[in-house]
Protein backbone atom coordinates (compact mmCIF):
# COMPACT_ATOMS: atom_id res chain seq x y z
CA UNK A 1 0.00 0.00 0.00
CA UNK A 2 2.90 2.40 0.68
CA UNK A 3 3.92 2.05 -2.98
CA UNK A 4 0.46 3.25 -4.00
CA UNK A 5 0.64 6.15 -1.52
CA UNK A 6 4.01 7.18 -3.02
CA UNK A 7 2.72 6.78 -6.57
CA UNK A 8 -0.25 9.05 -5.88
CA UNK A 9 1.81 11.72 -4.14
CA UNK A 10 4.31 11.66 -7.02
CA UNK A 11 1.53 11.92 -9.61
CA UNK A 12 -0.03 14.85 -7.75
CA UNK A 13 3.18 16.79 -7.17
CA UNK A 14 4.79 16.18 -10.59
CA UNK A 15 1.64 16.89 -12.54
CA UNK A 16 1.59 20.45 -11.20
CA UNK A 17 -1.84 20.10 -9.64
CA UNK A 18 -0.36 20.69 -6.21
CA UNK A 19 0.50 24.28 -7.12
CA UNK A 20 -2.91 26.05 -6.65
CA UNK A 21 -3.48 24.84 -3.06
CA UNK A 22 0.18 25.60 -2.27
CA UNK A 23 -0.32 29.20 -3.43
CA UNK A 24 -3.53 29.38 -1.39
CA UNK A 25 -1.61 28.28 1.72
CA UNK A 26 1.05 30.95 1.13
CA UNK A 27 -1.58 33.68 0.68
CA UNK A 28 -3.34 32.57 3.87
CA UNK A 29 -0.12 32.58 5.86
CA UNK A 30 0.66 36.05 4.53
CA UNK A 31 -2.74 37.33 5.68
CA UNK A 32 -2.54 35.58 9.06
CA UNK A 33 0.95 36.69 10.02
CA UNK A 34 1.43 39.90 8.02
CA UNK A 35 -0.08 42.14 10.67
CA UNK A 36 2.06 41.72 13.77
CA UNK A 37 2.58 39.29 16.61
CA UNK A 38 -0.09 37.44 18.60
CA UNK A 39 0.04 34.72 21.27
CA UNK A 40 0.91 31.27 19.91
CA UNK A 41 -2.43 29.63 20.83
CA UNK A 42 -4.48 32.39 19.16
CA UNK A 43 -2.37 32.47 15.99
CA UNK A 44 -2.34 28.70 15.59
CA UNK A 45 -6.05 28.41 16.34
CA UNK A 46 -6.86 30.72 13.42
CA UNK A 47 -4.25 29.05 11.23
CA UNK A 48 -5.89 25.64 11.72
CA UNK A 49 -9.35 27.02 10.92
CA UNK A 50 -8.07 28.83 7.83
CA UNK A 51 -6.27 25.73 6.58
CA UNK A 52 -9.35 23.51 6.87
CA UNK A 53 -10.95 24.36 3.48
CA UNK A 54 -7.56 24.39 1.73
CA UNK A 55 -6.69 20.93 3.03
CA UNK A 56 -10.10 19.62 1.97
CA UNK A 57 -9.53 21.09 -1.49
CA UNK A 58 -6.00 19.64 -1.59
CA UNK A 59 -7.42 16.20 -0.76
CA UNK A 60 -10.01 16.43 -3.51
CA UNK A 61 -7.37 17.54 -6.05
CA UNK A 62 -5.03 14.73 -4.97
CA UNK A 63 -7.72 12.05 -5.26
CA UNK A 64 -8.94 13.46 -8.58
CA UNK A 65 -5.47 13.59 -10.16
CA UNK A 66 -5.40 9.90 -11.03
CA UNK A 67 -7.48 9.00 -14.13
CA UNK A 68 -10.53 6.85 -13.31
CA UNK A 69 -9.12 3.86 -15.19
CA UNK A 70 -5.83 4.07 -13.29
CA UNK A 71 -7.73 4.19 -10.00
CA UNK A 72 -9.54 1.00 -11.05
CA UNK A 73 -6.24 -0.65 -11.94
CA UNK A 74 -4.96 0.24 -8.48
CA UNK A 75 -8.16 -1.11 -6.96
CA UNK A 76 -7.69 -4.43 -8.76
CA UNK A 77 -4.08 -4.56 -7.63
CA UNK A 78 -4.49 -3.95 -3.91
CA UNK A 79 -8.21 -4.41 -3.26
CA UNK A 80 -10.98 -1.84 -2.69
CA UNK A 81 -10.27 -1.15 1.00
CA UNK A 82 -6.55 -0.58 0.57
CA UNK A 83 -7.05 1.50 -2.57
CA UNK A 84 -9.39 3.86 -0.69
CA UNK A 85 -7.09 3.92 2.35
CA UNK A 86 -4.02 4.67 0.23
CA UNK A 87 -5.71 7.80 -1.12
CA UNK A 88 -6.57 8.98 2.39
CA UNK A 89 -3.01 8.29 3.60
CA UNK A 90 -1.50 10.21 0.67
CA UNK A 91 -3.70 13.18 1.59
CA UNK A 92 -2.69 12.79 5.26
CA UNK A 93 1.03 12.91 4.43
CA UNK A 94 0.67 16.10 2.36
CA UNK A 95 -1.70 17.72 4.86
CA UNK A 96 0.69 17.12 7.73
CA UNK A 97 3.53 18.63 5.68
CA UNK A 98 1.38 21.71 5.05
CA UNK A 99 0.60 21.95 8.77
CA UNK A 100 4.27 21.74 9.73
CA UNK A 101 5.05 24.51 7.22
CA UNK A 102 2.13 26.59 8.50
CA UNK A 103 3.29 26.23 12.11
CA UNK A 104 6.89 27.09 11.19
CA UNK A 105 6.02 30.09 9.00
CA UNK A 106 5.17 32.67 11.73
CA UNK A 107 8.65 32.25 13.22
CA UNK A 108 10.09 33.68 10.00
CA UNK A 109 7.79 36.73 10.12
CA UNK A 110 7.95 37.22 13.92
CA UNK A 111 4.23 36.46 13.94
CA UNK A 112 4.27 34.84 17.40
CA UNK A 113 4.32 36.91 20.57
CA UNK A 114 7.08 35.20 22.56
CA UNK A 115 6.21 36.97 25.86
CA UNK A 116 3.12 34.81 26.41
CA UNK A 117 2.93 31.13 27.44
CA UNK A 118 4.86 29.63 24.56
CA UNK A 119 5.03 25.92 25.38
CA UNK A 120 1.32 25.46 26.06
CA UNK A 121 0.46 27.74 23.14
CA UNK A 122 2.44 25.59 20.69
CA UNK A 123 0.99 22.39 22.15
CA UNK A 124 -2.53 23.78 21.72
CA UNK A 125 -1.62 24.83 18.18
CA UNK A 126 -0.47 21.31 17.31
CA UNK A 127 -3.74 19.97 18.72
CA UNK A 128 -5.79 22.48 16.71
CA UNK A 129 -4.08 21.44 13.47
CA UNK A 130 -4.46 17.74 14.29
CA UNK A 131 -8.17 18.34 14.91
CA UNK A 132 -8.55 20.12 11.55
CA UNK A 133 -6.66 17.67 9.30
CA UNK A 134 -8.78 14.46 9.51
CA UNK A 135 -12.15 16.21 8.96
CA UNK A 136 -10.64 18.17 6.05
CA UNK A 137 -9.43 14.93 4.45
CA UNK A 138 -12.81 13.28 5.04
CA UNK A 139 -14.59 16.21 3.36
CA UNK A 140 -12.17 16.20 0.41
CA UNK A 141 -12.63 12.45 0.02
CA UNK A 142 -16.43 12.77 0.04
CA UNK A 143 -16.15 15.48 -2.63
CA UNK A 144 -13.76 13.45 -4.81
CA UNK A 145 -14.74 12.40 -8.33
CA UNK A 146 -14.77 8.72 -7.35
CA UNK A 147 -17.70 9.48 -5.03
CA UNK A 148 -19.54 12.35 -6.70
CA UNK A 149 -18.87 11.22 -10.29
CA UNK A 150 -19.51 14.68 -11.71
CA UNK A 151 -17.33 17.78 -11.50
CA UNK A 152 -20.22 20.06 -10.58
CA UNK A 153 -21.49 17.91 -7.73
CA UNK A 154 -17.94 17.48 -6.39
CA UNK A 155 -17.25 21.22 -6.30
CA UNK A 156 -20.71 21.85 -4.79
CA UNK A 157 -20.14 19.35 -1.98
CA UNK A 158 -16.74 20.88 -1.22
CA UNK A 159 -17.85 24.53 -1.25
CA UNK A 160 -21.17 24.05 0.56
CA UNK A 161 -19.55 21.93 3.28
CA UNK A 162 -16.67 24.41 3.73
CA UNK A 163 -19.17 27.28 4.12
CA UNK A 164 -21.35 25.25 6.51
CA UNK A 165 -18.31 24.50 8.68
CA UNK A 166 -17.97 28.27 9.23
CA UNK A 167 -21.68 29.15 9.42
CA UNK A 168 -22.77 26.27 11.66
CA UNK A 169 -19.57 26.72 13.65
CA UNK A 170 -20.45 30.28 14.77
CA UNK A 171 -21.53 30.90 18.37
CA UNK A 172 -25.23 30.32 18.83
CA UNK A 173 -25.46 27.98 15.84
CA UNK A 174 -28.58 25.80 15.89
CA UNK A 175 -26.74 22.62 14.92
CA UNK A 176 -22.99 22.92 15.66
CA UNK A 177 -22.55 19.13 15.88
CA UNK A 178 -23.39 18.75 12.17
CA UNK A 179 -19.94 20.05 11.28
CA UNK A 180 -16.46 19.28 12.68
CA UNK A 181 -15.33 21.54 15.56
CA UNK A 182 -13.00 23.69 13.48
CA UNK A 183 -14.47 27.04 14.51
CA UNK A 184 -15.10 25.84 18.07
CA UNK A 185 -11.40 24.95 18.40
CA UNK A 186 -10.30 28.36 17.10
CA UNK A 187 -12.64 30.04 19.61
CA UNK A 188 -11.41 27.93 22.50
CA UNK A 189 -7.81 28.89 21.69
CA UNK A 190 -8.66 32.58 21.30
CA UNK A 191 -9.29 32.89 25.03
CA UNK A 192 -6.40 34.51 26.92
CA UNK A 193 -6.67 31.78 29.57
CA UNK A 194 -5.79 28.24 28.41
CA UNK A 195 -8.98 26.21 27.76
CA UNK A 196 -9.89 23.69 30.50
CA UNK A 197 -9.08 20.01 29.91
CA UNK A 198 -12.80 19.18 29.69
CA UNK A 199 -13.24 21.56 26.73
CA UNK A 200 -10.27 20.01 24.93
CA UNK A 201 -11.57 16.49 25.60
CA UNK A 202 -14.95 17.49 24.19
CA UNK A 203 -13.34 18.94 21.04
CA UNK A 204 -11.27 15.78 20.51
CA UNK A 205 -14.30 13.54 21.02
CA UNK A 206 -16.43 15.72 18.72
CA UNK A 207 -13.82 15.66 15.91
CA UNK A 208 -13.29 11.91 16.31
CA UNK A 209 -17.04 11.19 16.20
CA UNK A 210 -17.53 13.41 13.13
CA UNK A 211 -14.59 11.79 11.32
CA UNK A 212 -15.83 8.30 12.15
CA UNK A 213 -19.18 9.07 10.54
CA UNK A 214 -17.62 10.85 7.55
CA UNK A 215 -15.01 8.17 6.79
CA UNK A 216 -17.59 5.40 7.28
CA UNK A 217 -19.76 7.23 4.74
CA UNK A 218 -16.82 7.47 2.35
CA UNK A 219 -16.05 3.77 2.71
CA UNK A 220 -19.71 2.85 2.19
CA UNK A 221 -20.05 5.06 -0.91
CA UNK A 222 -16.83 3.74 -2.41
CA UNK A 223 -17.93 0.08 -2.13
CA UNK A 224 -19.90 0.27 -5.35
CA UNK A 225 -18.03 3.22 -6.89
CA UNK A 226 -14.79 2.02 -8.34
Amino acid sequence: MSALVRMRIAGFVRGGRALPPLIAVLVELGILYGGGASPAAVAYGYSAAALFPVLAWLTKLLLDTEPDVQRRLARLSVGPAREATAGVLAALVLSLLVCVAAMAAPWLFHGIDTRTALGSGIALGVLAHLLAVPPAIALGALASRAVTRSVRLGVTVLVVAAVLVVVLGLTGSFAPWLVPPVMATARALNDPAAPPAATLALLVFWAAAWCTVAFAGYGWLRRARS
Binding site: A10, G11, V69, Q70, R72, A74, S77, R223, S226
Partner: protein, 246 residues
Protein backbone atom coordinates in the same frame (compact mmCIF):
# COMPACT_ATOMS: atom_id res chain seq x y z
CA UNK B 1 -15.22 -18.40 -12.12
CA UNK B 2 -18.99 -18.08 -12.47
CA UNK B 3 -21.43 -15.35 -13.44
CA UNK B 4 -24.62 -16.03 -11.50
CA UNK B 5 -27.71 -14.22 -12.78
CA UNK B 6 -25.70 -11.03 -13.27
CA UNK B 7 -27.63 -7.89 -14.18
CA UNK B 8 -25.90 -4.58 -14.70
CA UNK B 9 -26.86 -0.97 -15.39
CA UNK B 10 -24.75 2.16 -15.19
CA UNK B 11 -27.26 4.31 -13.34
CA UNK B 12 -30.36 3.66 -11.32
CA UNK B 13 -32.67 5.11 -13.96
CA UNK B 14 -30.76 3.80 -16.98
CA UNK B 15 -31.79 0.68 -18.85
CA UNK B 16 -30.05 -2.61 -18.16
CA UNK B 17 -26.81 -2.96 -20.16
CA UNK B 18 -26.61 -6.67 -19.34
CA UNK B 19 -29.51 -8.93 -18.37
CA UNK B 20 -29.39 -12.19 -16.51
CA UNK B 21 -25.89 -13.28 -17.51
CA UNK B 22 -25.15 -16.80 -16.31
CA UNK B 23 -21.93 -18.37 -17.50
CA UNK B 24 -18.87 -20.22 -16.29
CA UNK B 25 -15.23 -19.54 -17.09
CA UNK B 26 -13.25 -22.73 -16.66
CA UNK B 27 -9.63 -22.73 -15.51
CA UNK B 28 -7.30 -22.53 -18.50
CA UNK B 29 -10.07 -21.45 -20.87
CA UNK B 30 -9.77 -18.72 -23.47
CA UNK B 31 -13.02 -16.89 -24.11
CA UNK B 32 -13.54 -14.39 -26.89
CA UNK B 33 -16.44 -12.00 -26.34
CA UNK B 34 -17.99 -10.79 -29.57
CA UNK B 35 -20.57 -8.13 -30.24
CA UNK B 36 -21.28 -4.82 -31.90
CA UNK B 37 -19.90 -1.51 -30.61
CA UNK B 38 -21.74 -0.64 -27.42
CA UNK B 39 -23.21 -4.13 -27.05
CA UNK B 40 -21.74 -4.45 -23.56
CA UNK B 41 -18.52 -6.38 -24.21
CA UNK B 42 -16.45 -3.96 -22.18
CA UNK B 43 -19.05 -3.98 -19.40
CA UNK B 44 -19.00 -7.78 -19.21
CA UNK B 45 -15.19 -7.77 -19.11
CA UNK B 46 -15.13 -5.20 -16.34
CA UNK B 47 -17.64 -7.25 -14.35
CA UNK B 48 -15.37 -10.27 -14.84
CA UNK B 49 -12.30 -8.34 -13.71
CA UNK B 50 -14.14 -6.96 -10.69
CA UNK B 51 -13.87 -3.34 -11.78
CA UNK B 52 -17.66 -3.06 -11.91
CA UNK B 53 -20.06 -4.58 -9.39
CA UNK B 54 -23.19 -6.35 -10.59
CA UNK B 55 -26.47 -4.57 -9.90
CA UNK B 56 -28.05 -7.94 -9.21
CA UNK B 57 -26.49 -11.39 -9.00
CA UNK B 58 -22.84 -12.08 -8.37
CA UNK B 59 -19.55 -13.09 -9.90
CA UNK B 60 -18.12 -15.91 -7.82
CA UNK B 61 -14.75 -17.68 -7.44
CA UNK B 62 -12.76 -14.98 -9.20
CA UNK B 63 -9.03 -15.83 -9.15
CA UNK B 64 -6.97 -13.81 -6.66
CA UNK B 65 -4.69 -12.19 -9.24
CA UNK B 66 -6.51 -10.39 -12.04
CA UNK B 67 -4.68 -8.68 -14.89
CA UNK B 68 -6.88 -6.13 -16.65
CA UNK B 69 -5.89 -4.41 -19.87
CA UNK B 70 -8.35 -1.54 -20.24
CA UNK B 71 -9.67 -0.58 -23.65
CA UNK B 72 -7.80 2.75 -23.45
CA UNK B 73 -4.65 3.01 -21.40
CA UNK B 74 -4.89 5.96 -18.94
CA UNK B 75 -1.95 7.90 -20.38
CA UNK B 76 -2.73 11.16 -18.56
CA UNK B 77 -0.17 10.56 -15.82
CA UNK B 78 3.11 12.38 -15.21
CA UNK B 79 5.34 9.30 -15.38
CA UNK B 80 7.66 7.83 -17.98
CA UNK B 81 6.80 4.34 -19.21
CA UNK B 82 9.57 2.73 -17.12
CA UNK B 83 8.74 4.79 -14.02
CA UNK B 84 5.06 3.85 -14.35
CA UNK B 85 5.79 0.14 -14.74
CA UNK B 86 8.23 0.10 -11.82
CA UNK B 87 5.68 1.86 -9.62
CA UNK B 88 2.92 -0.54 -10.69
CA UNK B 89 5.29 -3.46 -10.03
CA UNK B 90 5.77 -2.34 -6.45
CA UNK B 91 2.05 -1.57 -6.02
CA UNK B 92 1.22 -5.06 -7.29
CA UNK B 93 4.09 -6.76 -5.43
CA UNK B 94 5.64 -8.16 -8.61
CA UNK B 95 8.80 -10.26 -8.56
CA UNK B 96 12.03 -8.33 -9.21
CA UNK B 97 12.91 -8.31 -12.89
CA UNK B 98 9.29 -8.55 -14.01
CA UNK B 99 9.37 -5.04 -15.50
CA UNK B 100 12.56 -5.66 -17.50
CA UNK B 101 11.24 -8.98 -18.76
CA UNK B 102 8.00 -7.53 -20.09
CA UNK B 103 9.63 -4.37 -21.44
CA UNK B 104 11.93 -6.56 -23.49
CA UNK B 105 9.22 -9.02 -24.49
CA UNK B 106 6.81 -6.32 -25.65
CA UNK B 107 9.57 -4.42 -27.48
CA UNK B 108 9.21 -1.37 -25.25
CA UNK B 109 12.93 -0.89 -24.63
CA UNK B 110 13.30 2.26 -26.72
CA UNK B 111 10.21 3.84 -25.12
CA UNK B 112 11.11 3.38 -21.45
CA UNK B 113 12.19 7.02 -21.06
CA UNK B 114 9.17 8.45 -22.88
CA UNK B 115 6.42 10.14 -20.88
CA UNK B 116 3.15 8.20 -20.95
CA UNK B 117 1.30 11.13 -22.52
CA UNK B 118 3.78 11.20 -25.44
CA UNK B 119 3.47 7.51 -26.30
CA UNK B 120 1.69 6.45 -29.47
CA UNK B 121 -1.64 4.66 -28.96
CA UNK B 122 -0.19 1.24 -29.70
CA UNK B 123 2.81 1.73 -27.43
CA UNK B 124 0.58 2.96 -24.60
CA UNK B 125 -1.52 -0.18 -25.16
CA UNK B 126 1.64 -2.26 -24.70
CA UNK B 127 2.37 -0.50 -21.39
CA UNK B 128 -1.18 -1.42 -20.37
CA UNK B 129 -0.49 -5.01 -21.36
CA UNK B 130 2.83 -5.11 -19.46
CA UNK B 131 1.16 -3.71 -16.35
CA UNK B 132 -1.43 -6.52 -16.38
CA UNK B 133 1.21 -9.22 -16.74
CA UNK B 134 3.68 -8.05 -14.06
CA UNK B 135 2.21 -10.64 -11.71
CA UNK B 136 1.23 -13.90 -13.47
CA UNK B 137 -2.58 -13.54 -13.61
CA UNK B 138 -5.12 -16.19 -12.68
CA UNK B 139 -7.53 -14.23 -14.85
CA UNK B 140 -6.38 -12.04 -17.72
CA UNK B 141 -8.96 -9.64 -19.13
CA UNK B 142 -8.04 -8.09 -22.46
CA UNK B 143 -10.35 -5.36 -23.72
CA UNK B 144 -9.77 -4.99 -27.48
CA UNK B 145 -6.06 -5.80 -27.14
CA UNK B 146 -5.34 -5.61 -30.88
CA UNK B 147 -6.49 -2.02 -31.14
CA UNK B 148 -3.62 0.17 -32.33
CA UNK B 149 -0.97 -2.56 -32.15
CA UNK B 150 1.54 -3.05 -34.97
CA UNK B 151 1.93 -6.39 -36.74
CA UNK B 152 4.77 -7.59 -34.50
CA UNK B 153 2.86 -6.90 -31.31
CA UNK B 154 -0.29 -8.50 -32.71
CA UNK B 155 1.47 -11.81 -33.01
CA UNK B 156 2.60 -11.54 -29.37
CA UNK B 157 -0.91 -11.66 -27.97
CA UNK B 158 -1.74 -15.27 -28.88
CA UNK B 159 1.61 -16.33 -27.35
CA UNK B 160 0.86 -14.47 -24.13
CA UNK B 161 -2.69 -15.87 -23.99
CA UNK B 162 -1.32 -19.38 -24.47
CA UNK B 163 1.21 -18.88 -21.66
CA UNK B 164 -1.45 -17.68 -19.23
CA UNK B 165 -3.83 -20.55 -20.02
CA UNK B 166 -1.12 -23.21 -19.89
CA UNK B 167 -0.26 -21.95 -16.40
CA UNK B 168 -3.89 -22.63 -15.40
CA UNK B 169 -5.16 -19.07 -15.82
CA UNK B 170 -8.27 -18.05 -17.74
CA UNK B 171 -8.35 -15.37 -20.42
CA UNK B 172 -11.26 -13.19 -21.50
CA UNK B 173 -10.77 -11.21 -24.71
CA UNK B 174 -13.15 -8.81 -26.38
CA UNK B 175 -12.91 -8.28 -30.10
CA UNK B 176 -15.02 -6.62 -32.74
CA UNK B 177 -12.70 -6.98 -35.72
CA UNK B 178 -12.41 -10.71 -36.18
CA UNK B 179 -8.85 -11.18 -34.95
CA UNK B 180 -10.14 -14.23 -33.11
CA UNK B 181 -8.72 -16.52 -35.75
CA UNK B 182 -5.43 -15.88 -33.96
CA UNK B 183 -6.77 -17.69 -30.88
CA UNK B 184 -7.52 -21.28 -31.90
CA UNK B 185 -9.55 -23.29 -29.42
CA UNK B 186 -11.13 -20.23 -27.88
CA UNK B 187 -14.73 -20.38 -26.70
CA UNK B 188 -16.94 -17.73 -28.28
CA UNK B 189 -19.43 -15.68 -26.32
CA UNK B 190 -21.54 -13.12 -28.10
CA UNK B 191 -23.56 -10.28 -26.67
CA UNK B 192 -26.61 -8.86 -28.37
CA UNK B 193 -29.31 -6.66 -26.86
CA UNK B 194 -27.96 -7.11 -23.37
CA UNK B 195 -28.07 -10.89 -23.46
CA UNK B 196 -25.10 -13.23 -23.48
CA UNK B 197 -25.01 -16.28 -25.75
CA UNK B 198 -22.34 -18.87 -25.10
CA UNK B 199 -21.23 -21.57 -27.51
CA UNK B 200 -18.71 -24.39 -27.56
CA UNK B 201 -15.45 -23.94 -29.49
CA UNK B 202 -15.71 -24.84 -33.20
CA UNK B 203 -14.66 -28.48 -33.69
CA UNK B 204 -11.91 -27.65 -36.22
CA UNK B 205 -10.21 -25.28 -33.81
CA UNK B 206 -10.35 -27.80 -30.99
CA UNK B 207 -8.25 -30.26 -32.99
CA UNK B 208 -5.24 -31.74 -31.23
CA UNK B 209 -2.14 -29.56 -31.44
CA UNK B 210 0.66 -30.55 -33.77
CA UNK B 211 3.19 -32.84 -32.13
CA UNK B 212 6.00 -30.72 -30.65
CA UNK B 213 9.36 -31.34 -32.25
CA UNK B 214 12.70 -30.88 -30.56
CA UNK B 215 13.78 -27.23 -30.80
CA UNK B 216 17.11 -25.41 -31.01
CA UNK B 217 17.81 -21.69 -30.51
CA UNK B 218 19.26 -19.80 -33.48
CA UNK B 219 20.50 -16.28 -32.81
CA UNK B 220 19.96 -13.97 -35.76
CA UNK B 221 21.14 -10.37 -36.26
CA UNK B 222 19.04 -8.14 -38.53
CA UNK B 223 19.21 -4.48 -39.52
CA UNK B 224 17.29 -2.30 -37.09
CA UNK B 225 15.00 -0.98 -39.81
CA UNK B 226 14.02 -4.51 -40.80
CA UNK B 227 13.55 -5.91 -37.30
CA UNK B 228 9.76 -5.69 -37.41
CA UNK B 229 9.48 -7.40 -40.75
CA UNK B 230 11.97 -10.11 -39.79
CA UNK B 231 10.06 -10.98 -36.63
CA UNK B 232 6.79 -11.17 -38.57
CA UNK B 233 8.38 -13.30 -41.28
CA UNK B 234 9.92 -15.71 -38.76
CA UNK B 235 6.64 -16.08 -36.91
CA UNK B 236 4.77 -16.58 -40.20
CA UNK B 237 7.21 -19.36 -41.04
CA UNK B 238 6.15 -21.10 -37.84
CA UNK B 239 9.17 -20.29 -35.70
CA UNK B 240 8.94 -19.04 -32.14
CA UNK B 241 10.63 -15.65 -31.67
CA UNK B 242 11.94 -15.65 -28.10
CA UNK B 243 12.95 -12.00 -27.86
CA UNK B 244 14.47 -8.96 -29.48
CA UNK B 245 17.42 -7.14 -27.92
CA UNK B 246 19.75 -4.27 -28.74
Amino acid sequence: MRFEQVWFRYARRAGWTLREVTATVEQGATIVVLGRNGAGKSTLLQLAAGVLRPGRGAVRDRPAVVGWVPERFPADQPFTAADYLHRMASVRGAAPGAVDRWVERLLLTEHTGTRLADLSKGTAQKVGLAQALLVPPGLLVLDEPWEGLDSVARTLIPDIVAEVTSAGGSVLVSDHRGEITALPGAIHWSIAEGTLHTSAPPPSAAATPVEEEDEVVVEVAVRRSEADRAVVALRAAGHRVLGVRE
